[in-house]
Structure formats: structure tokens, C-alpha cells
């Protein structure tokens, strides 16, 4: 803010003015005036710009410190006020004076207040937490060993109600039992499973009636893993997860939750992991979403671009008015981020790639129409004239004189837009627009950092590949 003052009245300019106009006021009254109202003394000493700038700068600085209301910063306007009195006296005596002090004070205040407002606190960056988050990211969840799964479950009712069935489940020679048969949230349950593969790691997982998986290890944030004994049996004590009833329509209703026991063993070779599959699917959706949005945008943008081309529309006042209106609308539309439009479309058509596509299309129409119209404005009239001169008819003139001039740049801009749309599509996914962005947000929510890193890598690969491809195509066309 203090910098602003400097811009509007650079010191070099001041000295020049001092030399040309003699002050009409002596030092003491000038100082007094500036003490009363910062800048007034300078103003009276014929330093109009300086006076006004000092006044505005002082006002901004004062308002800033008062708004932040931290007494530690009150010194800054006071310092500037004092400097201003001294400066008024100097100006009245036609002495040169720089702007260094108030600018410095203003900058320090702005910097300090900014620091506090942003709550910059490097001590929150905990190394352990960072490691905990980042280490899994070194092993992106794309492929996994091919393996077979041995699955078993038992049903427990939460909370307890009347007529709760026995928590016992038999299947393929396996038996799983829970005691007691029902429990409330956070209560302890003993589960026992037998007939599983012996001496094998077994994942123990909770699944709510609405299909949400809850982890049972650590603070419910890690997979509970136990080994079976040599007979394939396992007994473990679990707590009903605190979130077992989260999202349940009626938490008082006693419903069957399942405790799953999963064993895996490799059968050789590798396969796409579940998350890896989802990432690829998401990537395809995102690319398709961007492609469809671009196609829709082209269809609308081409006719609009003709209305937004000055050289075509400047013929008469009516078309000129259309041009101005269309241009203004395009500029407004273009300035709204696709992300924000996506919020609105998610409200209108619901979550999913369709909302994302509409948002991207909307934004792209404006962006493409502007680019297209600039291409049209840049058409060289010479070749068109030359083709008319050969006796060609109207359609032939368009085909041989206009199209060759606009199609390559149109194509180049369109591919460039598609490129941008793929990037935006991932972001638009964050707010529910579907595709890989939506998947990313979900993975972050469940802290699946290996999945997150798979998404990061996929996005990077797509963006780099598309970037390269679009640059190559544009190089050829332009």
C-alpha cells in the first residue's frame, strides 16, 4: 500500500516540481497543517500530488492497522505521521526529501500483518506426519500380485435390539463366531474364526449395513491384521467402530453389521489393482469429459465467433451493437472459472461427469469463440479478393479463400483448449464433476495415499502426453 504512494509521486518528479514552483508557505505552519491532517502541509506547499498521496497512504495504513487491531502495529501509522510532519517542513523550505522511511514502514506493517493473517506457522509441519503421508506415496497403487482370496464373515447386530440372531456363520467348512451377538458402538466384541488357511495374515474389517468399510486397527485408521494359528483359527478382540452408525438412516435401529476376515495368497504374476483400475477408468472419463466438452463448445463457438468478429460486424450500427454485446458476454463468461460453473451445474444436474462436462463446455464456448473470432479478424482479405477475381462463386470463395485460412488455427486452438480442458476436468472433478478428480478427492478422504499417488502419476502422464501431442499438432498447423 505504501508502494502505491510511491508510484503516484516518484521522488524524481518531486524534485523537478520543487525546482519549478516556489512554496507559498513557511515551515512551521506547513508542519502544523500536516500534523492536523497528513499531507495538508505538503499540499499547501504546492506539492499537490505529494500531499494527496501521503494522505491516501496514511489513510490506508491506518485503516489496515486498525482493522487488524493488533497494538504491536500501531507504531507504523504514528511513525508515518511523524515523518509527514517533518516532510511538510522540508517541503515548505523546498528541500529534497525521499520516500524511503514511510515506504519501509508501510511495507513492514503490510508484511507483518500479512504473515499473521495467513497463520504462517512452520512448526505445524510435523516430520512424522509428513513421512506417514508421503511414504505410501512411493508405492503407487497400480498393480498388485495376482492372488486368491479366502473370505469369511460373521454378522453382529448394532445396537442391541430384541430377537437378535446368533452371531455365527458357517461357510465352506469355515466357522466365524462373535460374542456377544450384539453390541453398542465402541463396545468390545470377541470374534473367532476357524477353518481358514493356517499361519496366514488375515485382514479383519468392519462393514456397515449400507456397505461402508471401517478399519479396526490403530485409531480406526489402519487395517487390523492378525495371523491364524497352525489350525487356521484366530481369535481377536475388537471394538465396534465409532463410525459404525455414521450415515445410518436410524441409529437406534438394530441392524446386522459384518466383520470380514480376508486372507490373500499370491498365485503368481501381476494384475491391475482395484484402485489402479479405478484410476484408469477415471482417467478415461476425464479425457472423454474434456473431449465432449470441447466438441460441444466448438459447435456453439463457431457461429458465435462470427458474431464476435469485428471485421464482419463493423458494417452497420445494428451488427456493431450485436458485436459489442456478444464480446462483452464472452468476456464475462470467460472470466468465470470452470470450477465455479461446475458448482452450479452440480446443483442443477447432480454429481457426476455430466455436470463437469457442462461446466467445461460452458467455459470453453466463451474461450473458443474469442479465439476463433480473433482468427476471423486476422483473415487476410487478399487471397479472398484474388479468388473472387477468378470468377469463383460465393461458396467456392469460402472453400478456397476462407476455410484454408481459418481451419488450421481453429484446429490448433481447439486442441489447445482440449488440453486445457483435460487439466480443468481433473479440478472440476473435485467438486463432484466426476472422473479422476472425483476419485482423487475420495482417495484423499479415506487417506489412501498409495491410490492418491497413482492418481498423481496418471494425471502427470496424461497432461505431459497431451501437452506434447497438442504442441506437435499446433506446430504443424500454424
Amino acid at each position: 500500500m505504501a508502494r502505491k504512494r510511491r508510484k503516484s509521486a516518484p521522488p524524481a518528479c518531486e524534485t523537478a516540481m520543487t525546482a519549478s514552483s516556489k512554496p507559498t508557505i513557511s515551515a512551521l505552519p506547513a508542519a502544523l497543517l500536516s500534523a492536523l491532517l497528513p499531507g495538508l502541509g505538503q499540499f499547501s506547499a504546492r506539492q499537490r500530488y505529494r500531499g494527496v498521496s501521503i494522505f491516501i497512504g496514511f489513510l490506508i495504513l491506518t485503516m489496515m492497522t486498525l482493522w487488524y487491531a493488533d497494538p504491536r502495529w500501531y507504531f507504523s501509522p504514528v511513525l508515518v505521521w511523524l515523518w509527514n510532519i517533518w516532510d511538510a517542513a522540508r517541503q515548505a523550505r523546498s528541500q529534497k526529501n525521499g520516500f524511503l522511511l514511510p515506504v519501509l514502514v508501510g511495507l513492514i506493517a503490510a508484511y507483518g500483518i500479512g504473515w499473521q493473517v495467513l497463520q504462517i506457522d512452520f512448526s505445524t509441519a510435523d516430520m512424522n506426519r509428513a513421512t506417514h503421508i508421503l511414504r505410501p506415496m512411493l508405492r503407487p497403487d497400480f498393480i498388485q500380485e495376482r492372488r486368491e482370496t479366502n473370505e469369511m464373515w460373521v454378522e453382529i447386530f448394532v445396537p442391541c435390539g430384541t430377537d437378535v440372531p446368533t452371531a455365527r456363520h458357517e461357510m465352506d467348512g469355515k466357522v466365524a463366531i462373535a460374542t456377544p451377538d450384539c453390541a453398542a458402538v465402541l463396545e468390545t466384541v470377541i470374534v473367532n474364526v476357524s477353518g481358514m488357511w493356517p499361519n496366514a495374515e488375515t485382514e479383519i474389517l468392519w462393514e456397515t449395513p449400507i456397505g461402508n468399510a471401517r478399519m479396526l486397527g490403530g485409531n480406526e485408521d489402519a487395517m487390523l491384521v492378525q495371523n491364524t494359528d497352525e489350525n487356521g483359527s484366530l481369535t481377536v478382540l475388537i471394538h465396534v467402530p465409532s463410525l459404525a452408525l455414521a450415515g445410518a438412516p436410524d441409529p437406534t435401529l438394530s441392524l446386522g453389521h459384518r466383520v470380514y476376515f480376508n486372507q490373500h495368497r499370491p498365485i503368481g504374476g501381476y494384475e491391475l489393482s482395484f484402485v489402479g483400475g479405478e484410476v484408469l477408468k477415471g482417467a478415461l472419463v476425464t479425457i472423454a469429459m474434456a473431449l465432449m466438452a470441447t466438441l460441444f463448445a466448438i459447435i456453439l463457438a463457431i457461429p458465435i465467433s462470427f458474431l464476435a468478429a469485428r471485421n464482419l460486424m463493423s458494417g452497420n450500427p445494428v451488427t456493431m451493437a450485436v458485436y459489442v454485446v456478444v464480446r462483452t458476454l464472452l468476456n464475462i463468461l470467460r472470466s468465470i472459472e470452470a470450477l465455479i460453473i461446475a458448482f452450479i451445474f452440480v446443483k442443477i444436474v447432480g454429481l457426476g461427469p455430466f455436470a463437469g462436462m457442462l461446466a467445461l463446455a460452458f467455459h470453453s464456448v466463451a474461450a473458443l469463440a474469442k479465439l476463433y473470432s480473433e482468427v476471423i479478424e486476422g483473415i487476410d482479405p487478399g487471397p479472398i479478393e484474388a479468388i473472387r477475381a477468378t470468377g469463383a462463386n460465393w461458396v467456392q470463395v469460402v472453400r478456397y479463400g476462407v476455410i484454408p485460412q481459418i481451419v488450421p488455427p481453429f484446429t490448433a486452438f481447439t486442441i489447445y483448449r482440449w488440453d486445457i480442458n483435460v487439466r480443468s476436468a481433473t479440478i472440476v472433478g473435485f467438486v463432484g464433476g466426476g472422473g479422476i478428480g472425483f476419485l482423487l478427492i475420495e482417495l484423499i478422504r479415506i487417506s489412501d495415499m498409495r491410490g492418491v499417488s497413482a492418481v498423481f502419476i496418471t494425471i502427470a502422464v496424461i497432461v505431459i502426453a497431451l501437452d506434447y501431442f497438442s504442441a506437435k499438432v499446433r506446430e504443424r498447423l500454424v
Binding site: E385, A386, T390, G391, Q396, P404
Partner: protein
């Protein structure tokens, strides 16, 4: 014979570019139009094939009134009038071949031409035209990959495709160096000798002397001189180009 009768052109902006211009061009002439920049040379040439519609006056070509021709007839007339431009006016992104072929649009089957299909005969014609101007080997290149002189030859080849009876050349060599200028004008001279009437605007008097069979000079849209190049003496020169321009022009002679 081309008869230009009382031709006037006033642009919508109010500029009166041509004022009551009348002259005749006999078949087979190499008529050169000279005059200062802004004197109306381009306007005059563009009126002849009606790239610009004149405000008043008539242009009769073999007793057909070009100025009154309806669109279809106008296209028939235009295809017999080749045009060469100072800025070449090639479609830069298209190939040399396509640029030359586009000179044939007035003859081609409209539907075939729209999908870019050209008969073998037309393609052969295009290669022949390029051959005449000595750049048949450049047929496949993009027009903007050629040098200025080569581009203007493509311009001439395009005009040739029209089998023109008249060629309008609007400062065809103003963007070229003197050597290239002569080579382009020699092509036009050659065509002229084969019976094609040429109307050409030029800036440099040495070129005028060398190629013109007759000269028309414009000044502020009015004809101030009509005759042979040899008749342009110092006094006439001053009249055409004005007092101040004299030394500059004289130096370039």
C-alpha cells in the same frame, strides 16, 4: 476493346478515388497506369473486374457492359480477366498446386471443386502453367515457403489458368527487387505478345519505359496524362508526381 467511360468511385468513407475517368484499351496493348500512391490506380483496376463497384460510369468490354452484369454473368466475365497483385494474394497455407488450381474455379464443376477434386486435365494445365513460369518443381510446397519472386510467379500461373484475354496487374513488382521485377514483367510481356491485353500499374519509370505500349497517369483520381512512355518529359513528370517528388523520383530513374 475495353472502354472506360466517365468512371467515378466514391468510397463510403467519402474519399473520391476516381473522378470521371475515361479511356480505351485496345486489344493486345500493354497499358501501364502510373500515379502517386493514393492516386486511384488500384481502385481503377479493381473496378474493371468489379472487385469494387464503381459509383458512376460504364466499363464496356467488347461491347458488354461489365458494370451492369448480373452476378452469374459477372463471374463469366471475371474468369476471362486474370489478376496479379502486389502482395501476391496467395492462400499461404495452401499448396502451390491448390493456389494455381484455384485460378480455374470459374471453369470447374462447382461440386467437384468444393470437395477439392480436380480433373486430370485441370491438374495438367496447372503443372503446365507452373512450368511456364519455371517453378513446376514447387507444386507440392506450401505457398508461404516460397520466396517473393516465386510467389508472384505462382500468382501469374494462377492468372494463366483462367485462359485470360485480359490481365490486370496491380503493382505486380512493387514488393520485388529489380532483377525479379524484370523477370515477372517479362512473363507478362511474353503473354502480351501472345495476344493477352495487359493493364498494369507500376511505380518505376524505367520499367514503364521498358514495357509499356501506352501509359495512363492518374493524379487524385483524374487522368492527367495519356500517351506513350516516351512522351513523359520533365514537365509531364512534374505534373504527374508533383514538384517535391521530383528529385526522389528522378533519382530512382
Amino acid at each position: 476493346m475495353l472502354r472506360i467511360q466517365n468512371l467515378s468511385k466514391t468510397y463510403p468513407s467519402g474519399t473520391q478515388a476516381l473522378k470521371n475517368v475515361s479511356f480505351d484499351v485496345q486489344d493486345g496493348e500493354f497499358m501501364v497506369v502510373i500515379g502517386l500512391s493514393g492516386s486511384g490506380k488500384s481502385t481503377l483496376l479493381r473496378c474493371i473486374n468489379r472487385l469494387i463497384d464503381p459509383t458512376e460510369g460504364k466499363i464496356l468490354w467488347d461491347d458488354v457492359d461489365i458494370t451492369a452484369a448480373p452476378p452469374a454473368e459477372l463471374r463469366q466475365i471475371r474468369r476471362k480477366i486474370g489478376m496479379v497483385f502486389q502482395q501476391f494474394n496467395l492462400v499461404k497455407r495452401s499448396s502451390v498446386m491448390t493456389n494455381v488450381l484455384s485460378g480455374r474455379l470459374g471453369y470447374a464443376n462447382p461440386w467437384m471443386s468444393l470437395i477439392g477434386l480436380w480433373s486430370a486435365d485441370e491438374k495438367k494445365r496447372a503443372i503446365d502453367a507452373l512450368d511456364r513460369v519455371g517453378i513446376a518443381d514447387k507444386a507440392g510446397e506450401r505457398a508461404d515457403a516460397l520466396s517473393g519472386g516465386q510467389q508472384q510467379r505462382v500468382g501469374v500461373a494462377r492468372a494463366l489458368m483462367q485462359e485470360p484475354k485480359l490481365i490486370l496487374a496491380d503493382e505486380p513488382v512493387a514488393s520485388l527487387d529489380p532483377v525479379l521485377s524484370h523477370s515477372i514483367l517479362q512473363y507478362l510481356e511474353q503473354l502480351n505478345k501472345e495476344g493477352i491485353t495487359v493493364i498494369c500499374s507500376l511505380h518505376f519509370l524505367d520499367l514503364v519505359h521498358r514495357y509499356a505500349t501506352r501509359v495512363v497517369a492518374l493524379k487524385d483520381g483524374v487522368i492527367v496524362f495519356e500517351g506513350s512512355a516516351q512522351e513523359i518529359d520533365r514537365a509531364k513528370f512534374k505534373e504527374i508526381y508533383g514538384e517535391e517528388a521530383q528529385e526522389v523520383r528522378a533519382a530512382s530513374l
